[in-house]
């Protein structure tokens, strides 16, 4: 079982990461609903890092590492960008307002925060690191 992959920063690789996480989780006898939720949360963070953190620069790459320990799924997503990326100012959006103004984006981190138990963004001098955790029954 492969527990780590490296992808270049292009949207085409979103599917690659989804399949990687899904394959890892499928071998741990989880429901398709839970697998889809976790895959979705990872997809949202990876999409943000590719598009907003690294400007879809294909010369940049992300390292993705997964683990399951003591019934807790954990994933690390690391880029190697000197620019910090951390949605620390995140606030739950008002979806009715989003509908009213026709806003297209902004609900990704809402999904991540509602699905995962812990969401951590840390910025270091040469890289950004996101860690997501979810306790599995």
């Amino acid at each position: 079982m492969k527990h780590a992959i490296r992808i270049s920063c292009t949207r085409r690789n979103l599917k690659v990461v989804r399949d990687f996480v899904s394959d890892f989780l499928t071998s741990h006898a989880l429901s398709s609903l839970v697998i889809n939720q976790i895959v979705l949360a990872v997809d949202e963070v990876v999409a943000n890092l590719i598009i907003h953190g690294n400007g879809e620069d294909e010369s940049q790459f992300l390292d993705v590492r997964v683990q399951l320990q003591n019934h807790e799924f954990g994933i690390e997503i690391e880029d190697h960008n000197l620019t910090s990326y951390s949605p620390s100012s995140y606030q739950e959006p008002d979806l009715q307002e989003y509908v009213r103004i026709g806003k297209k984006g902004g609900v990704g981190m809402m999904l991540v925060n509602r699905i995962m138990d812990r969401v951590e963004f840390t910025t270091h001098s040469t890289h950004n690191l996101c860690r997501l955790y979810k306790k599995l029954a």
Partner: protein
């Protein structure tokens, strides 16, 4: 993502086949942005072959919902897989959008 269209006099049905993510949702946005779509009374979204949706796909529907409502166009989802419906539920979008089990129920709205 593949989008197939079926039109009757007052209803346009879009059948979605594949995965709606930050890469593929542009295609759906292009379809829903066409001005002529607002001439329909109903736009039905057949989700039977929609296997995955991320916030980018949801965002496309969120961004067009008000213009549909303003134009009197009903947007109705049907045949939604449980795992896709669950994503709408996590955000509470199932109470802002019309989602029914079957095509017959979608047509009856």
């Amino acid at each position: 993502m593949k989008i197939t269209q079926h039109a009757t006099e007052s209803t346009l049905t879009l059948s979605l086949d594949g995965e709606l993510d930050a890469s593929s949702s542009v295609l759906l946005d292009t379809e829903l942005s066409k001005p002529e779509i607002l001439r329909n009374q109903k736009v039905l979204i057949d989700c039977r072959q929609l296997h995955y949706i991320s916030s980018a796909g949801l965002g496309v529907f969120i961004s067009h919902l008000q213009s549909f409502q303003d134009a009197g166009v009903k947007l109705v989802f049907f045949n939604m897989q449980e795992k896709v419906h669950n994503v709408f539920e996590i955000l509470g979008l199932d109470s802002l959008m019309t989602i029914v089990p079957s095509e017959a129920e979608a047509e009856a709205i």
